[in-house]
């Protein structure tokens, strides 16, 4: 649905050049929720703004729904943008218009006749649960409601793609949860492909199918969330399950075990202890709900060196667990 190839964006200001997006490749599949996770200044916002060409990349290709955006003329690009929804961290609502007026704005831009607009606006407000607030001005409603208006407005052109620029970063945790649930629901019901950028792990955990981690303008890691969580050396897993530092003792081996899905329900620690007649020391661990499934990571200490533990680790791996020997 969205294909980004060799994208590069450099900001130049008085002779100084800052590379915000550095040779990024990214593919977002049809119907998935794709998250780009990174700290502020990592270039993710620039990356997102290059997808609908709010920023023009210096080089590379951007294809959305089969259309090469950089090849379009001004008018063609405006029409393409009408089919790419976007929501914003600070909502970007017109303060001079009512809630209904804001949702009507993209319809006016698209040239929808006035008679049809009213009906479509009502339909969209209903979709986001704001039918009762049509006549209110943005200043009179809460942050969560403002973002709902933003979402209704973004969906006006029946887009296939929704871009989300830190849409929940200005909201409290409860409101964040309800907005994420709404996005997830729209993704499923309308088959909407969502590309979102965020600095919140919570967002990735709750709604992302795939994720890319961005740092200093580059993607350092990308793929389906569940694959990444169990991939050895994954940054995402390390960030999601911060484990306490350990001082390795001589004659013992520290192992990180990642479990997900079925393997999360089996008592593998006590099974290991029984099977091999050893004591297993748990150093730390965390279990999280990711995309509706339980995923966890445990750091355990096993007696003996690497040779003695080879069979034990093989035993764990045979159960579908991801096992990494900590350095």
């Amino acid at each position: 649905m969205i294909q980004i190839e060799k994208l590069r964006k450099v900001y130049r200001d008085r002779g100084r050049a800052v590379t915000a997006v550095d040779d990024v490749d990214l593919t977002v599949a049809d119907g998935e929720v794709f998250g780009v996770l990174g700290r502020s200044g990592a270039g993710k916002s620039t990356l997102l703004r290059c997808v609908n060409l709010l920023e023009r990349p210096d080089s590379g290709r951007v294809t959305v729904a089969g259309q090469d955006l950089l090849a379009l003329s001004g008018g063609e690009l405006r029409r393409a943008r009408q089919r790419i929804g976007m929501i914003h961290q600070h909502f970007g609502l017109l303060s001079s218009r009512t809630v209904a007026g804001n949702v009507a704005f993209p319809l006016e831009v698209m040239g929808v006749p006035r008679a049809e607009r009213g009906e479509r606006v009502a339909e969209l407000l209903d979709l986001v649960g704001l039918a009762d607030h049509a006549g209110a001005h943005p200043a009179q409603i809460s942050g969560g409601q403002k973002q709902r208006v933003g979402i209704a407005r973004a969906l006006a052109g029946r887009p296939k793609v929704l871009l989300s620029d830190e849409a929940t970063s200005a909201l409290d945790p409860e409101t964040t949860a309800s907005i994420l649930a709404l996005l997830r629901d729209l993704n499923r019901r309308l088959g909407l492909t969502v590309l979102l950028i965020t600095h919140e792990m919570e967002v990735v955990k709750r709604i992302c199918d795939s994720v890319a981690i961005m740092r200093d303008g580059r993607i350092t890691e990308a793929g389906p969330v569940r694959d990444l969580l169990t991939a050895p050396g994954s940054e995402l897993a390390r960030d999601l399950f911060p484990l306490p530092a350990h001082a390795p003792r001589p004659g013992s081996t520290v192992v990180d075990v990642t479990f997900e899905g079925d393997s999360a329900d089996r008592p593998f620690v006590s099974a290991l202890a029984r099977e091999f007649g050893i004591d297993v020391n748990i150093l730390g661990g965390a279990v999280e709900e990711v995309g509706g499934a339980r995923v966890g990571r445990l750091r355990v200490e096993l007696p003996g060196g690497p040779e003695e533990n080879a069979a034990r680790l093989a035993h764990l791996r045979a159960q579908g667990l991801t096992v990494e020997v900590a350095p």
Binding site: R81, Q82, G92, E108, V109, M110, A139
Partner: protein, 218 residues
């Protein structure tokens, strides 16, 4: 002079002042709006960047702003004669009044437009809005409270300018105050014009504030 003699004079003069102020405010309003929009659009990072045009416009606007009105009015006499066919009289005065007020309002328009949240403009661009729509439906519309507040200040400044116009061949309250109140020592006339001016300014401010408040949804 008796009040019976003063009343008709005062009524005529007030009418003339309102005519000059109203006509020049309307013209300066349109011209200032245009200039202000051009200043914002042509700015570096604006919707239609044109640094040379921006610098040129800024320079012209600053010239208009740097001359005290009395001097501007006199310096413009040849231009006024060219445009209006005469350099004195109430209608001719509309020319220098407009030239004096337009740059003033242009700067206020520029400030009001810059106050518009860039995030809103970006959101509208992301929806596929054209430049014209961005200017008319987003920038000007969102800036309405600031535009009206600026126009209020401009109208009040124009009331002051028309009083000065009275000294170089126009009628109005300024002329009345100078020729009767000052030169003929008619204190009653002076007091009456001062009172009328104060009432006018208060009224303009009140109406301006009311409209601004109506348009503000913050």
């Amino acid at each position: 002079m008796t009040w019976d003699e003063i009343w008709p004079l005062l009524r005529t003069a007030t009418g003339e002042t309102l005519y000059m102020t109203g006509a020049s405010a309307a013209l300066a309003g349109v011209l200032g709006l245009l200039l202000g929009v051009l200043l914002v659009l042509s700015d570096r990072g604006g919707l239609l960047p044109a640094p040379a045009l921006n610098k040129g416009l800024g320079f012209v606007v600053n010239i208009g702003r740097s001359l005290p009105y009395l001097i501007l009015m006199v310096a413009l006499i040849p231009f006024t004669r060219f445009v209006a066919g005469s350099s004195y009289g109430n209608t001719a005065m509309i020319v220098p009044l407009t030239v004096g007020a337009a740059p003033f309002y242009a700067r206020l328009v520029e400030t009001a437009l810059r106050e518009v949240d860039p995030g809103v403009v970006a959101a509208a661009r992301a929806m596929g809005a054209s430049r014209r729509e961005l200017v008319v439906k987003v920038l000007l519309r969102e800036a309405r409270p600031g535009l009206v507040a600026g126009l209020t200040v401009t109208v009040i400044a124009l009331l002051g300018y028309t009083a000065m116009a009275g000294t170089v061949g126009a009628g109005g309250l300024g002329y009345l105050a100078i020729s009767y109140g000052y030169e003929r020592f008619e204190t009653k006339v002076m007091v009456a014009t001062v009172v009328v001016l104060i009432v006018l300014v208060q009224l303009v401010q009140m109406v301006g504030d009311l409209v601004t408040r109506r348009l503000t949804h913050k």
